[in-house]
């Protein structure tokens, strides 16, 4: 019963179950047994590869090694290779992660890895997911600056010590990698849910004193798929590689939307 309940929370990738996050011992001249998901929008399956272990090796390096040395048809995506662009996220041993900055030792269990495309998004091919729905929701959540001034005005003076600015700064360094989106079971269960990253962005905008779109943002995050669907399960904050807490931002949205509903004058 419990098992079923836990499973029923959302459809899952059949993931290799590992809870060990500790840094393992480095042993070279060993191979890693890697299962890589292959397929497209219509489904697929895991394929196994042997990859030589190296001292310094990220998950992205493992994937690239396979494509460059074993199977040239393997598809995946990356750009910056250093944790800035958010292009390279994949499911690694069941957890969504930025692969370019995940050292193999951090996730390796019994010399095994399982790598799959990011959860909760359509697959293009193999490890490359289609991120459009993620960005569509970013936009739906009101995620664009609404200006009041122009390029001919001086830069506004805003103290970084102001509370609102601090709220905004706390969430602003999001690289839209989609890790939180893949980690959230509400997204899995509710395809309309805007998701942690989009809502986090909405919260930073709401706290930006230069932005004049508060009303439209509040309306956008209060609709059917809005912030009120979040159960504060915290997978987003737990796994965000930049240590942001979309959960906290969403709680902020809940608070502000509720207050503005109860006190419409404000």
């Amino acid at each position: 019963m419990l098992r079923k309940l836990i499973d029923s929370v959302g459809p899952q990738f059949e993931a290799f179950k590992s809870q060990d996050e500790g840094l393992g011992v480095t042993e070279t001249d060993k191979n890693i047994d890697v299962s890589v998901w292959r397929g497209g929008p219509d489904g697929g399956s895991f394929q196994r590869f042997e990859v030589p272990k190296q001292d310094n090796q990220t998950i992205l390096d493992v994937v690239a090694w396979i494509q460059q040395n074993d199977d040239p048809t393997l598809s995946y995506r990356f750009a910056c290779r250093v944790g800035m662009c958010g292009s390279c996220a994949m499911m690694v041993n069941g957890n969504p992660r930025w692969t370019c900055r995940t050292h193999v030792n951090k996730v390796l269990k019994n010399d095994r890895l399982e790598i799959a495309p990011l959860r909760n998004l359509p697959v293009i091919k193999d490890l490359a997911a289609d991120m459009d729905p993620f960005f569509d929701k970013w936009r739906e959540a009101g995620g664009v600056f609404h200006p009041t001034k122009s390029r001919n005005d001086p830069v506004e003076e805003i103290s970084p010590l102001e509370e609102e600015r601090q709220n905004a700064n706390a969430g602003i360094e999001c690289i839209n990698c989609g890790v939180c989106y893949a980690a959230c079971d509400v997204v899995a269960g509710n395809p309309d849910y805007l998701g942690p990253a989009a809502l986090n962005r909405a919260w930073t905008l709401l706290n930006d004193t230069r932005d004049c779109g508060s009303q439209s943002i509040l309306a956008a995050v209060s609709r059917g798929g809005g912030c009120h669907n979040c159960h504060s399960m915290g997978n987003c904050a737990h796994l965000c590689p930049n240590e942001l807490s979309p959960m906290t931002s969403i709680a902020g949205l809940k608070r502000v939307t509720a207050l503005s509903f109860l006190r419409p004058g404000n």
Partner: protein, 113 residues
């Protein structure tokens, strides 16, 4: 699926219930100590306007609260939507409300003896 209004209803009902349930728990702990009989329950509650109000409020709140709560779980796990989901929510609400109302009536109405 939760929008702002359902969310607020659920949170408000929870806030209403919190003190009631905590109080109820305390009563149970005391009551159970002496063993439960219907006599005992009734002697405490029967004819009391305040008990009726208390339990009545709880029933309303819990019907709202649980209906919305179950609605969310059903939506997320069974993917029920639209009319079916709304009907289910109302059914749970009404079912709980009537059963609850009957129970309150049973425990508090005068003259049942």
């Amino acid at each position: 699926m939760l929008d702002l209004k359902l969310y607020l209803l659920q949170r408000l009902s929870a806030l209403v219930m919190a003190p009631l349930v905590l109080g109820h728990l305390a009563v149970i702990i005391v009551a159970v100590q002496n063993g439960l009989t219907s006599e005992e329950i009734l002697s405490r509650t029967q004819g009391s306007f305040w008990w009726a109000l208390l339990y009545g409020t709880f029933v309303v709140a819990v019907s709202v609260h649980a209906a919305i709560g179950l609605r969310v779980i059903v939506f997320e796990t069974l993917k029920l939507k639209g009319f079916a989901l709304n009907s289910l929510t109302w059914a749970i609400f009404l079912g709980l409300f009537f059963m609850g109302a009957r129970a309150v009536w049973a425990v508090t109405a005068v003259g049942a003896t």
